[in-house]
Symmetry: C2
Subunit: 240 residues, 2 copies
DNA sequence: CTGAACACGTGAGGC
DNA sequence: TGCCTCACGTGTTCA
């Protein structure tokens, strides 16, 4: 195996690696990038020279690709705690765990977010399924003042949904309520369903507005969760 | 470059690759794993044979390492939507973006979670800093009935904290309140601070209990956010 | 045909 | 010593 001998001191299997010195007189080093070019003083290039320049460009490109990947791995390492001095594979497996646990966290956290706000709104949006990238899910919510009459309408709406996998939930807080539908396991044709649900929810909300018949319309001053920072000096904040 | 000729059809630079046939009579193929062993019928092994077996084991080990890494990359690809048919580097950069956005999501979601619950509790916990893996942060919360007298005690507590980077917030809901302190930028010695804060909060809560002087102690029946699933049949849920 | 992306085997170096 | 991880240059394939 002596034709594989390293004659420059660089690491790795640098079989035809020359550190900036080119053995053929018809080749020259490109100034901007460390790639090989034909020497302009020559007119023709031998096949051996062409092979050399191609090989050199190839190895340079491959090095750049490696650097790109390793840079991303380094970024992931800074983003993932406790992965310094860790194996490449170990780092990746740790990243996998982190992504999974982050998804569980955000799922748990958004689960607690079903608290009715003080503004009326209907939101229907498609969201990714954490466990299966191929299938998506729809999350539809309607937030408004609480009314018994709405419940039967909502039940009609949820019964009209395709029975893939439907979860429905209602939260109330004081006079406010929010109803959330989550339909999972959709494989395709999501957008029509999104539009349909949005229209249904909006008509329910409109019907609710009509039934209110302009009673106590302005300055409703709904109860509100108050949240404030400490005043920076003195403890006589206006809130308390 | 004809000494690099591929004489077996396998892909890649298999320089001394013989597909199961060993050119030296003193070597034999191990049955369980595709590694090279010494032929038991021989007594001694030449140095060339030893070099061959070492090389073969080395390349096999390297292949296993590659497979391990690529398996993790494949897992990440299934976990990250829209990364099929994507570059290795592109996949990693997408994973980075996903981790970052997931962290923002969970930060936003947990930010909305500062709604006082109906159980009294003090929680002090160390949590990771998303932007900097080297530094951690402490999140301390105290949840109880609202009392003006608590506020001065809380202000004392927040003033006593080391002024690294302190964020304090109070939320009230009806008769309930929750106070949250977040101290960021801690580099070390976190646990003593955690213990100190926990003790401070608990003493505040104890002081609050003492000031209540056993008034209206049992069956306090605090107001509660109601959250329920639809009953699976009939619309006469007891709730409504 | 050029360039990009991948798997491969190999040398270096760390325990 | 032996085993492991990493970077390197190379062969191959695909757009």
């Amino acid at each position: 195996m002596d034709f594989f001998e390293n004659f420059d001191g660089v690491q790795g299997g640098n079989y035809l690696g020359f550190q900036g010195v080119v053995p053929s007189s018809s080749l020259i080093l490109n100034n901007e990038r460390g790639e090989l070019m034909m020497n302009p003083s020559r007119q023709k290039m031998g096949d051996a020279d062409k092979a050399l320049i191609a090989l050199r460009n190839h190895s340079n490109a491959e090095r750049r690709r490696r650097e790109r990947i390793n840079a991303h791995l380094a970024t992931l390492r800074t983003l993932t705690p406790g992965t310094t001095k860790m194996d490449k594979a170990g780092l990746l497996s740790e990243v996998i765990n982190q992504v999974k646990s982050l998804r569980e966290n955000v799922a748990e956290a958004t689960k607690g977010t079903v608290v009715p706000s003080d503004i009326d709104e209907v939101r229907v949006e498609e969201e990714e399924d954490p466990n299966d990238a191929a299938s998506t899910s729809i999350r539809a919510s309607l937030c408004c003042d609480f009314k018994h009459e709405l419940l039967s309408d909502l039940r009609e709406a949820v019964d009209a949904l395709p029975h893939n996998d439907v979860r429905a939930e209602i939260s109330t807080l004081g006079t406010r309520m929010v109803s959330v539908f989550v339909i999972t396991g959709l494989k395709s044709q999501v957008q029509p369903l999104v539009d349909s649900i949005r229209q249904t929810f909006r008509s329910i909300l409109d019907k609710f507005y009509a039934s209110e018949e302009f009673s106590s319309r302005s300055s409703s001053s709904k109860r509100r969760r108050v949240s404030s920072l400490f005043a920076s000096s003195g403890s006589s904040s206006g809130l308390f």
